[in-house]
Amino acid sequence: MFNTEKFIEKTISSLQKDIMGKALIAFSGGVDSTVCAALVNKAIGNRLIAVHVNTGYMRKNESEQVTQMMEDLSFNYRLVDASKEYYLALKGVEDPEKKRKIIGEKFIRIFEKVARAEKVEYLIQGTIAPDWIESGGGLRDTIKSHHNVGGLPKDMKLKLVEPLHELYKDEVRKVARSLKLKVSERQPFPGPGLAIRIIGEATPERTELVREACDIVEKEIERASKQGLMELPWQYFAVLIPIKTVGVHGDKRAYGNTIAIRAVQSVDAMTCHYSTIPHNILDAISTKITNTLKDKVNRIVYDVTNKPPGTVEWE
Protein backbone atom coordinates (compact mmCIF):
# COMPACT_ATOMS: atom_id res chain seq x y z
CA MET A 1 0.00 0.00 0.00
CA PHE A 2 1.06 3.60 -0.60
CA ASN A 3 2.65 4.88 2.60
CA THR A 4 1.99 8.61 2.95
CA GLU A 5 4.33 9.33 5.83
CA LYS A 6 7.19 7.42 4.27
CA PHE A 7 6.63 9.20 0.95
CA ILE A 8 6.70 12.64 2.60
CA GLU A 9 9.84 11.85 4.55
CA LYS A 10 11.68 10.34 1.59
CA THR A 11 10.69 13.12 -0.79
CA ILE A 12 11.76 15.94 1.52
CA SER A 13 15.14 14.38 2.18
CA SER A 14 15.85 13.73 -1.49
CA LEU A 15 14.72 17.26 -2.43
CA GLN A 16 17.15 18.64 0.14
CA LYS A 17 19.94 16.69 -1.53
CA ASP A 18 18.93 17.40 -5.14
CA ILE A 19 18.17 21.12 -5.08
CA MET A 20 21.32 23.13 -4.62
CA GLY A 21 20.23 26.71 -5.34
CA LYS A 22 16.91 28.37 -5.89
CA ALA A 23 13.90 26.72 -7.42
CA LEU A 24 10.61 27.92 -8.79
CA ILE A 25 7.36 26.07 -8.87
CA ALA A 26 4.64 26.34 -11.47
CA PHE A 27 1.82 27.08 -9.05
CA SER A 28 -1.75 26.71 -10.27
CA GLY A 29 -3.23 26.36 -6.82
CA GLY A 30 -4.58 22.87 -7.49
CA VAL A 31 -3.92 19.83 -5.32
CA ASP A 32 -0.84 18.65 -7.24
CA SER A 33 1.08 21.91 -7.33
CA THR A 34 0.11 22.81 -3.77
CA VAL A 35 1.29 19.47 -2.39
CA CYS A 36 4.45 19.82 -4.42
CA ALA A 37 5.07 23.37 -3.22
CA ALA A 38 4.45 22.41 0.39
CA LEU A 39 6.96 19.53 0.18
CA VAL A 40 9.64 21.62 -1.54
CA ASN A 41 8.98 24.46 0.87
CA LYS A 42 9.61 22.09 3.77
CA ALA A 43 12.82 20.96 2.09
CA ILE A 44 14.40 24.26 1.01
CA GLY A 45 12.27 26.99 2.63
CA ASN A 46 12.30 30.39 0.99
CA ARG A 47 14.69 29.29 -1.74
CA LEU A 48 11.47 28.20 -3.40
CA ILE A 49 9.56 30.80 -5.37
CA ALA A 50 5.97 29.96 -6.26
CA VAL A 51 4.95 31.48 -9.59
CA HIS A 52 1.28 31.73 -10.44
CA VAL A 53 0.41 32.64 -14.00
CA ASN A 54 -2.99 34.08 -14.81
CA THR A 55 -3.42 32.77 -18.33
CA GLY A 56 -6.76 34.47 -18.86
CA TYR A 57 -8.25 30.98 -18.96
CA MET A 58 -8.72 30.65 -15.21
CA ARG A 59 -12.09 30.18 -13.56
CA LYS A 60 -14.04 32.99 -11.92
CA ASN A 61 -11.94 34.74 -9.22
CA GLU A 62 -9.46 31.85 -9.33
CA SER A 63 -6.23 33.85 -9.46
CA GLU A 64 -7.40 35.98 -6.51
CA GLN A 65 -8.11 32.83 -4.50
CA VAL A 66 -4.77 31.32 -5.42
CA THR A 67 -2.99 34.50 -4.31
CA GLN A 68 -4.77 34.34 -0.97
CA MET A 69 -3.70 30.72 -0.64
CA MET A 70 -0.04 31.53 -1.28
CA GLU A 71 -0.35 34.24 1.40
CA ASP A 72 -1.90 31.80 3.84
CA LEU A 73 0.84 29.25 3.25
CA SER A 74 3.49 32.01 3.66
CA PHE A 75 5.09 31.18 0.33
CA ASN A 76 7.66 33.36 -1.35
CA TYR A 77 5.57 34.06 -4.48
CA ARG A 78 5.24 36.00 -7.74
CA LEU A 79 2.12 36.70 -9.76
CA VAL A 80 2.27 37.01 -13.52
CA ASP A 81 -0.73 38.30 -15.44
CA ALA A 82 -0.21 36.98 -18.95
CA SER A 83 -3.83 36.90 -20.14
CA LYS A 84 -3.27 39.26 -23.05
CA GLU A 85 -0.26 37.29 -24.23
CA TYR A 86 -2.19 34.01 -24.08
CA TYR A 87 -5.21 35.38 -25.92
CA LEU A 88 -2.91 36.64 -28.64
CA ALA A 89 -1.00 33.35 -28.92
CA LEU A 90 -4.23 31.36 -29.26
CA LYS A 91 -5.79 33.68 -31.80
CA GLY A 92 -7.13 31.63 -34.69
CA VAL A 93 -6.02 28.30 -33.13
CA GLU A 94 -8.69 25.59 -33.21
CA ASP A 95 -6.75 22.32 -32.99
CA PRO A 96 -6.78 21.01 -29.39
CA GLU A 97 -3.24 19.63 -29.51
CA LYS A 98 -1.96 22.95 -30.87
CA LYS A 99 -3.73 24.80 -28.08
CA ARG A 100 -2.15 22.56 -25.46
CA LYS A 101 1.34 22.87 -26.94
CA ILE A 102 1.18 26.65 -27.29
CA ILE A 103 -0.02 27.00 -23.69
CA GLY A 104 2.65 24.58 -22.42
CA GLU A 105 5.44 26.40 -24.20
CA LYS A 106 4.22 29.80 -23.02
CA PHE A 107 4.26 28.62 -19.41
CA ILE A 108 7.90 27.62 -19.74
CA ARG A 109 8.91 30.89 -21.41
CA ILE A 110 7.31 32.81 -18.55
CA PHE A 111 9.03 30.63 -15.97
CA GLU A 112 12.37 31.06 -17.74
CA LYS A 113 11.95 34.82 -17.59
CA VAL A 114 11.28 34.73 -13.86
CA ALA A 115 14.15 32.27 -13.45
CA ARG A 116 16.60 34.61 -15.18
CA ALA A 117 15.54 37.56 -13.05
CA GLU A 118 15.72 35.56 -9.82
CA LYS A 119 18.74 33.39 -10.73
CA VAL A 120 16.80 30.16 -10.41
CA GLU A 121 18.04 26.85 -11.83
CA TYR A 122 15.28 24.39 -11.01
CA LEU A 123 11.72 24.14 -12.18
CA ILE A 124 9.40 22.15 -9.91
CA GLN A 125 6.23 20.77 -11.46
CA GLY A 126 3.34 18.87 -9.90
CA THR A 127 3.25 16.34 -12.75
CA ILE A 128 1.46 13.14 -11.75
CA ALA A 129 1.25 9.70 -13.39
CA PRO A 130 -1.74 10.23 -15.74
CA ASP A 131 -0.09 13.40 -17.14
CA TRP A 132 2.91 11.59 -18.57
CA ILE A 133 1.03 8.40 -19.38
CA GLU A 134 -1.48 10.25 -21.56
CA SER A 135 1.19 12.46 -23.09
CA GLY A 136 2.67 9.37 -24.74
CA GLY A 137 6.22 8.91 -25.98
CA GLY A 138 8.22 5.72 -26.58
CA LEU A 139 5.72 2.92 -27.13
CA ARG A 140 2.76 4.84 -25.80
CA ASP A 141 0.28 6.67 -27.98
CA THR A 142 -0.40 10.36 -27.28
CA ILE A 143 -3.95 10.73 -26.01
CA LYS A 144 -3.41 14.39 -25.17
CA SER A 145 -0.29 16.45 -24.57
CA HIS A 146 -0.48 17.54 -20.98
CA HIS A 147 0.89 21.08 -20.81
CA ASN A 148 3.53 20.08 -18.27
CA VAL A 149 4.85 17.11 -20.27
CA GLY A 150 4.08 17.05 -23.99
CA GLY A 151 3.97 20.84 -24.09
CA LEU A 152 7.51 21.32 -22.75
CA PRO A 153 9.82 22.91 -25.31
CA LYS A 154 12.88 20.82 -26.20
CA ASP A 155 15.34 23.63 -25.56
CA MET A 156 14.21 24.28 -22.00
CA LYS A 157 17.16 25.31 -19.84
CA LEU A 158 15.67 24.81 -16.40
CA LYS A 159 16.34 21.54 -14.57
CA LEU A 160 13.06 19.75 -14.09
CA VAL A 161 12.09 18.27 -10.72
CA GLU A 162 8.81 16.34 -10.42
CA PRO A 163 8.37 14.89 -6.94
CA LEU A 164 4.88 13.46 -7.61
CA HIS A 165 5.77 11.74 -10.90
CA GLU A 166 4.67 8.24 -9.86
CA LEU A 167 1.56 9.25 -7.93
CA TYR A 168 -2.12 9.26 -8.84
CA LYS A 169 -4.56 11.91 -7.70
CA ASP A 170 -6.01 9.86 -4.87
CA GLU A 171 -2.51 9.38 -3.48
CA VAL A 172 -1.71 13.08 -3.87
CA ARG A 173 -4.89 13.84 -1.91
CA LYS A 174 -3.72 11.52 0.86
CA VAL A 175 -0.45 13.44 1.04
CA ALA A 176 -2.39 16.72 1.05
CA ARG A 177 -4.54 15.57 3.96
CA SER A 178 -1.52 14.47 5.88
CA LEU A 179 0.09 17.89 5.29
CA LYS A 180 -3.24 19.47 6.40
CA LEU A 181 -3.61 21.42 3.15
CA LYS A 182 -7.05 22.94 2.58
CA VAL A 183 -6.98 22.13 -1.12
CA SER A 184 -6.89 18.37 -0.54
CA GLU A 185 -10.41 17.82 -1.90
CA ARG A 186 -10.41 20.45 -4.64
CA GLN A 187 -11.55 19.20 -8.04
CA PRO A 188 -8.89 18.90 -10.76
CA PHE A 189 -8.54 21.78 -13.19
CA PRO A 190 -6.39 21.33 -16.30
CA GLY A 191 -3.31 23.52 -16.83
CA PRO A 192 -4.57 24.85 -20.19
CA GLY A 193 -7.68 25.89 -18.26
CA LEU A 194 -10.82 27.08 -19.96
CA ALA A 195 -9.02 27.15 -23.33
CA ILE A 196 -9.71 23.43 -23.70
CA ARG A 197 -13.31 23.82 -22.52
CA ILE A 198 -14.02 25.90 -25.60
CA ILE A 199 -14.33 23.84 -28.73
CA GLY A 200 -12.75 25.82 -31.55
CA GLU A 201 -11.04 29.17 -31.10
CA ALA A 202 -10.64 30.24 -27.46
CA THR A 203 -11.41 33.95 -27.91
CA PRO A 204 -11.76 36.26 -24.88
CA GLU A 205 -15.53 36.54 -25.54
CA ARG A 206 -16.03 32.78 -25.62
CA THR A 207 -13.87 32.47 -22.52
CA GLU A 208 -16.24 34.79 -20.64
CA LEU A 209 -19.16 32.56 -21.63
CA VAL A 210 -17.60 29.30 -20.51
CA ARG A 211 -16.22 30.95 -17.35
CA GLU A 212 -19.71 32.00 -16.32
CA ALA A 213 -21.20 28.62 -17.27
CA CYS A 214 -18.49 26.72 -15.33
CA ASP A 215 -19.16 28.87 -12.31
CA ILE A 216 -22.88 28.08 -12.44
CA VAL A 217 -22.28 24.33 -12.86
CA GLU A 218 -19.81 24.31 -9.95
CA LYS A 219 -22.05 26.28 -7.59
CA GLU A 220 -25.23 24.32 -8.36
CA ILE A 221 -23.54 20.93 -8.06
CA GLU A 222 -21.72 21.89 -4.87
CA ARG A 223 -24.98 23.12 -3.38
CA ALA A 224 -26.79 19.93 -4.37
CA SER A 225 -24.11 17.75 -2.91
CA LYS A 226 -24.05 19.74 0.34
CA GLN A 227 -27.80 19.17 0.63
CA GLY A 228 -27.21 15.44 0.13
CA LEU A 229 -29.03 15.36 -3.21
CA MET A 230 -26.07 13.87 -5.06
CA GLU A 231 -22.53 12.66 -4.53
CA LEU A 232 -19.92 15.35 -5.24
CA PRO A 233 -18.37 14.30 -8.58
CA TRP A 234 -14.66 13.89 -9.15
CA GLN A 235 -14.83 16.76 -11.66
CA TYR A 236 -17.71 18.93 -12.88
CA PHE A 237 -17.77 21.79 -15.35
CA ALA A 238 -19.23 23.28 -18.53
CA VAL A 239 -17.97 23.05 -22.10
CA LEU A 240 -18.78 25.63 -24.75
CA ILE A 241 -19.76 24.13 -28.08
CA PRO A 242 -19.92 26.99 -30.55
CA ILE A 243 -22.66 25.36 -32.59
CA LYS A 244 -25.67 27.57 -32.98
CA THR A 245 -29.19 26.31 -32.70
CA VAL A 246 -32.54 28.01 -32.87
CA GLY A 247 -34.49 28.98 -29.79
CA VAL A 248 -37.29 31.26 -28.81
CA HIS A 249 -36.88 34.07 -26.30
CA GLY A 250 -40.06 35.94 -25.45
CA ASP A 251 -41.78 35.50 -28.81
CA LYS A 252 -38.55 36.35 -30.59
CA ARG A 253 -36.30 34.01 -32.52
CA ALA A 254 -32.97 33.26 -30.80
CA TYR A 255 -29.90 31.75 -32.40
CA GLY A 256 -27.18 30.99 -29.87
CA ASN A 257 -24.41 28.64 -28.72
CA THR A 258 -24.59 25.34 -26.86
CA ILE A 259 -23.21 24.47 -23.43
CA ALA A 260 -22.53 20.90 -22.34
CA ILE A 261 -22.67 19.88 -18.68
CA ARG A 262 -19.91 17.41 -17.83
CA ALA A 263 -19.50 15.62 -14.51
CA VAL A 264 -17.66 12.36 -13.82
CA GLN A 265 -16.87 9.95 -11.00
CA SER A 266 -13.36 8.59 -10.76
CA VAL A 267 -10.62 7.60 -8.36
CA ASP A 268 -7.53 8.14 -10.45
CA ALA A 269 -8.73 9.75 -13.72
CA MET A 270 -7.62 6.68 -15.70
CA THR A 271 -11.21 5.45 -16.00
CA CYS A 272 -14.35 7.47 -15.32
CA HIS A 273 -18.06 6.98 -15.15
CA TYR A 274 -20.30 9.94 -15.96
CA SER A 275 -22.05 11.27 -12.86
CA THR A 276 -25.76 10.87 -12.38
CA ILE A 277 -27.05 14.39 -11.76
CA PRO A 278 -30.67 14.46 -10.58
CA HIS A 279 -33.03 16.01 -13.12
CA ASN A 280 -34.08 18.91 -10.93
CA ILE A 281 -30.43 19.90 -10.54
CA LEU A 282 -29.89 19.67 -14.30
CA ASP A 283 -32.99 21.79 -14.64
CA ALA A 284 -31.67 24.43 -12.29
CA ILE A 285 -28.31 24.53 -14.08
CA SER A 286 -29.95 24.73 -17.49
CA THR A 287 -32.29 27.56 -16.54
CA LYS A 288 -29.59 29.51 -14.77
CA ILE A 289 -27.10 29.29 -17.64
CA THR A 290 -29.58 30.24 -20.34
CA ASN A 291 -31.03 33.07 -18.26
CA THR A 292 -27.61 34.45 -17.38
CA LEU A 293 -26.05 34.12 -20.81
CA LYS A 294 -29.32 35.05 -22.58
CA ASP A 295 -28.72 35.76 -26.27
CA LYS A 296 -25.35 33.97 -26.27
CA VAL A 297 -26.48 30.50 -25.14
CA ASN A 298 -29.89 28.96 -25.72
CA ARG A 299 -29.24 25.23 -25.52
CA ILE A 300 -27.86 22.96 -22.78
CA VAL A 301 -26.85 19.31 -23.23
CA TYR A 302 -25.71 16.69 -20.71
CA ASP A 303 -22.62 14.58 -21.49
CA VAL A 304 -23.21 10.89 -20.66
CA THR A 305 -19.88 9.49 -21.90
CA ASN A 306 -17.60 7.27 -19.82
CA LYS A 307 -13.80 7.12 -20.07
CA PRO A 308 -13.06 5.18 -22.18
CA PRO A 309 -14.29 5.89 -24.81
CA GLY A 310 -14.30 9.61 -23.88
CA THR A 311 -11.83 11.55 -21.74
CA VAL A 312 -12.88 13.83 -18.88
CA GLU A 313 -12.16 17.07 -20.71
CA TRP A 314 -13.38 17.41 -24.28
CA GLU A 315 -9.99 18.40 -25.72
Binding site: F2, G138, R140, T271, C272, P308
Partner: protein
Protein backbone atom coordinates in the same frame (compact mmCIF):
# COMPACT_ATOMS: atom_id res chain seq x y z
CA UNK B 1 6.95 -10.93 -0.52
CA UNK B 2 6.09 -12.20 -3.96
CA UNK B 3 7.87 -10.64 -6.93
CA UNK B 4 5.86 -9.95 -10.09
CA UNK B 5 7.03 -7.63 -12.85
CA UNK B 6 4.98 -5.78 -15.44
CA UNK B 7 6.20 -5.94 -19.03
CA UNK B 8 5.47 -2.59 -20.68
CA UNK B 9 3.99 -2.94 -24.15
CA UNK B 10 3.00 0.72 -24.21
CA UNK B 11 -0.54 0.60 -22.83
CA UNK B 12 -2.30 3.52 -21.18
CA UNK B 13 -2.85 1.40 -18.09
CA UNK B 14 0.56 -0.30 -17.67
CA UNK B 15 1.26 1.92 -14.71
CA UNK B 16 -2.12 1.00 -13.19
CA UNK B 17 -1.12 -2.67 -13.32
CA UNK B 18 2.03 -1.79 -11.43
CA UNK B 19 0.03 0.23 -8.93
CA UNK B 20 -2.52 -2.53 -8.29
CA UNK B 21 0.29 -5.03 -7.64
CA UNK B 22 2.12 -2.58 -5.39
CA UNK B 23 -1.06 -1.86 -3.43
CA UNK B 24 -1.39 -5.62 -2.85
CA UNK B 25 2.12 -5.65 -1.35
CA UNK B 26 3.80 -7.27 -4.33
CA UNK B 27 7.41 -6.41 -5.10
CA UNK B 28 6.95 -5.01 -8.57
CA UNK B 29 8.63 -3.06 -11.35
CA UNK B 30 7.71 -1.91 -14.83
CA UNK B 31 10.27 -3.19 -17.36
CA UNK B 32 10.49 -2.56 -21.10
CA UNK B 33 9.41 -5.41 -23.36
CA UNK B 34 12.91 -5.47 -24.83
CA UNK B 35 14.27 -6.97 -21.60
CA UNK B 36 15.82 -10.41 -22.14
CA UNK B 37 14.23 -13.33 -20.31
CA UNK B 38 17.49 -14.30 -18.65
CA UNK B 39 17.68 -10.82 -17.12
CA UNK B 40 14.24 -11.32 -15.65
CA UNK B 41 15.28 -14.73 -14.33
CA UNK B 42 18.23 -13.13 -12.57
CA UNK B 43 15.75 -10.99 -10.65
CA UNK B 44 14.03 -14.19 -9.46
CA UNK B 45 10.59 -13.08 -10.56
CA UNK B 46 7.65 -15.33 -9.67
CA UNK B 47 5.15 -14.00 -12.20
CA UNK B 48 4.82 -11.64 -15.16
CA UNK B 49 2.09 -9.37 -16.42
CA UNK B 50 2.18 -8.62 -20.15
CA UNK B 51 0.57 -5.19 -20.41
CA UNK B 52 -1.76 -3.84 -23.02
CA UNK B 53 -0.21 -1.91 -25.84
CA UNK B 54 -0.18 1.02 -28.16
CA UNK B 55 -3.04 0.95 -30.72
CA UNK B 56 -3.41 -2.19 -32.83
CA UNK B 57 -0.14 -3.90 -31.83
CA UNK B 58 -2.02 -6.93 -30.55
CA UNK B 59 -3.25 -7.48 -34.08
CA UNK B 60 -0.02 -8.12 -35.94
CA UNK B 61 3.11 -6.71 -34.29
CA UNK B 62 5.79 -8.36 -32.23
CA UNK B 63 5.63 -7.22 -28.65
CA UNK B 64 9.38 -6.89 -28.04
CA UNK B 65 10.57 -10.08 -26.38
CA UNK B 66 7.13 -11.29 -25.28
CA UNK B 67 7.49 -14.33 -27.55
CA UNK B 68 10.62 -15.34 -25.65
CA UNK B 69 8.82 -15.07 -22.31
CA UNK B 70 5.97 -17.22 -23.61
CA UNK B 71 8.43 -19.84 -24.89
CA UNK B 72 10.64 -20.00 -21.82
CA UNK B 73 8.58 -19.07 -18.78
CA UNK B 74 7.59 -21.72 -16.24
CA UNK B 75 6.06 -19.11 -13.95
CA UNK B 76 2.48 -17.72 -14.19
CA UNK B 77 1.92 -15.15 -16.95
CA UNK B 78 -1.01 -12.80 -17.24
CA UNK B 79 -1.55 -11.18 -20.63
CA UNK B 80 -3.86 -8.17 -20.66
CA UNK B 81 -5.52 -6.77 -23.82
CA UNK B 82 -2.73 -6.61 -26.42
CA UNK B 83 -0.70 -8.95 -24.16
CA UNK B 84 -3.59 -11.42 -24.23
CA UNK B 85 -4.01 -11.09 -28.01
CA UNK B 86 -0.32 -11.66 -28.56
CA UNK B 87 -0.35 -14.70 -26.30
CA UNK B 88 -3.21 -16.21 -28.32
CA UNK B 89 -1.48 -15.44 -31.62
CA UNK B 90 1.82 -16.86 -30.41
CA UNK B 91 0.23 -20.22 -29.65
CA UNK B 92 -1.63 -20.45 -32.97
CA UNK B 93 -4.85 -18.52 -32.32
CA UNK B 94 -6.22 -15.79 -34.59
CA UNK B 95 -6.67 -12.10 -33.77
CA UNK B 96 -8.88 -9.89 -35.93
CA UNK B 97 -10.39 -6.40 -35.80
CA UNK B 98 -13.52 -6.60 -33.65
CA UNK B 99 -16.85 -6.43 -35.45
CA UNK B 100 -18.09 -4.46 -32.45
CA UNK B 101 -15.17 -2.90 -30.53
CA UNK B 102 -15.82 -2.42 -26.82
CA UNK B 103 -14.98 0.73 -24.86
CA UNK B 104 -15.93 1.31 -21.26
CA UNK B 105 -18.44 -0.71 -19.27
CA UNK B 106 -19.26 -4.28 -20.37
CA UNK B 107 -20.83 -7.29 -18.66
CA UNK B 108 -18.46 -10.23 -18.30
CA UNK B 109 -19.81 -13.78 -18.09
CA UNK B 110 -17.67 -16.58 -16.68
CA UNK B 111 -17.75 -19.92 -18.52
CA UNK B 112 -16.96 -22.25 -15.59
CA UNK B 113 -17.38 -22.28 -11.84
CA UNK B 114 -13.95 -23.16 -10.56
CA UNK B 115 -11.34 -21.10 -12.39
CA UNK B 116 -8.53 -20.24 -9.96
CA UNK B 117 -8.07 -16.82 -11.61
CA UNK B 118 -11.74 -16.00 -11.05
CA UNK B 119 -12.08 -17.25 -7.47
CA UNK B 120 -14.58 -14.96 -5.69
CA UNK B 121 -15.74 -13.34 -8.95
CA UNK B 122 -19.48 -13.42 -9.65
CA UNK B 123 -20.72 -15.37 -12.67
CA UNK B 124 -21.76 -12.00 -14.17
CA UNK B 125 -19.84 -8.85 -13.34
CA UNK B 126 -18.90 -5.44 -14.70
CA UNK B 127 -15.53 -5.03 -16.40
CA UNK B 128 -14.03 -2.15 -18.38
CA UNK B 129 -12.80 -2.57 -21.89
CA UNK B 130 -10.83 -0.62 -24.45
CA UNK B 131 -10.09 -2.61 -27.57
CA UNK B 132 -10.37 -2.46 -31.36
CA UNK B 133 -9.18 -6.05 -31.96
CA UNK B 134 -9.92 -9.40 -30.35
CA UNK B 135 -9.07 -13.11 -30.36
CA UNK B 136 -11.48 -14.80 -32.78
CA UNK B 137 -10.00 -18.32 -32.84
CA UNK B 138 -8.70 -19.96 -29.67
CA UNK B 139 -5.20 -21.48 -29.79
CA UNK B 140 -5.33 -25.25 -29.50
CA UNK B 141 -3.75 -25.57 -26.05
CA UNK B 142 -6.10 -23.05 -24.49
CA UNK B 143 -9.59 -23.02 -23.00
CA UNK B 144 -11.94 -20.10 -22.99
CA UNK B 145 -12.89 -19.02 -19.47
CA UNK B 146 -15.02 -15.88 -19.99
CA UNK B 147 -17.04 -14.04 -22.64
CA UNK B 148 -19.15 -10.94 -23.22
CA UNK B 149 -22.08 -10.25 -25.51
CA UNK B 150 -19.97 -8.77 -28.28
CA UNK B 151 -16.64 -10.50 -27.68
CA UNK B 152 -16.82 -14.26 -27.35
CA UNK B 153 -13.23 -14.69 -26.14
CA UNK B 154 -12.80 -12.42 -23.14
CA UNK B 155 -10.47 -14.65 -21.13
CA UNK B 156 -8.33 -17.70 -21.84
CA UNK B 157 -6.19 -20.18 -19.92
CA UNK B 158 -3.44 -22.51 -21.12
CA UNK B 159 -4.35 -26.15 -20.53
CA UNK B 160 -1.01 -27.12 -18.98
CA UNK B 161 0.86 -23.94 -18.09
CA UNK B 162 -0.19 -21.12 -15.79
CA UNK B 163 -0.72 -18.73 -18.67
CA UNK B 164 -3.80 -16.49 -18.65
CA UNK B 165 -5.08 -13.93 -21.13
CA UNK B 166 -7.70 -11.25 -20.45
CA UNK B 167 -9.26 -9.01 -23.07
CA UNK B 168 -10.74 -6.73 -20.39
CA UNK B 169 -8.80 -4.63 -17.92
CA UNK B 170 -8.69 -5.92 -14.33
CA UNK B 171 -6.27 -3.13 -13.36
CA UNK B 172 -8.67 -0.20 -13.62
CA UNK B 173 -10.72 1.05 -10.71
CA UNK B 174 -14.08 0.58 -12.43
CA UNK B 175 -13.70 -3.17 -13.07
CA UNK B 176 -15.84 -4.69 -10.33
CA UNK B 177 -13.62 -7.63 -9.33
CA UNK B 178 -10.35 -6.31 -10.76
CA UNK B 179 -8.47 -6.38 -7.50
CA UNK B 180 -9.81 -9.86 -6.69
CA UNK B 181 -8.49 -11.15 -10.02
CA UNK B 182 -5.07 -9.71 -9.24
CA UNK B 183 -5.19 -11.28 -5.77
CA UNK B 184 -5.93 -14.64 -7.39
CA UNK B 185 -3.07 -14.19 -9.85
CA UNK B 186 -0.72 -13.31 -7.00
CA UNK B 187 -1.78 -16.50 -5.21
CA UNK B 188 -0.96 -18.53 -8.31
CA UNK B 189 2.48 -16.90 -8.40
CA UNK B 190 3.11 -17.65 -4.71
CA UNK B 191 2.63 -21.38 -5.20
Amino acid sequence: MVRIYVIDNGGQWTHREWRTLRDLDVETNIVPNTTLFKELQKEKIQGLVLSGGAPRIGLNSNLGNCAEYLDKADIPLLGICAGHQFMARHFGGIVKPSKIPEFGQVELMLCHDDEPLFKGVLKKSIVWESHNDEVTVLPKDFVKIAESENCKIQAIRHKKKQFYGLQFHPEVEHTQFGEQIFKNFIQLCEK
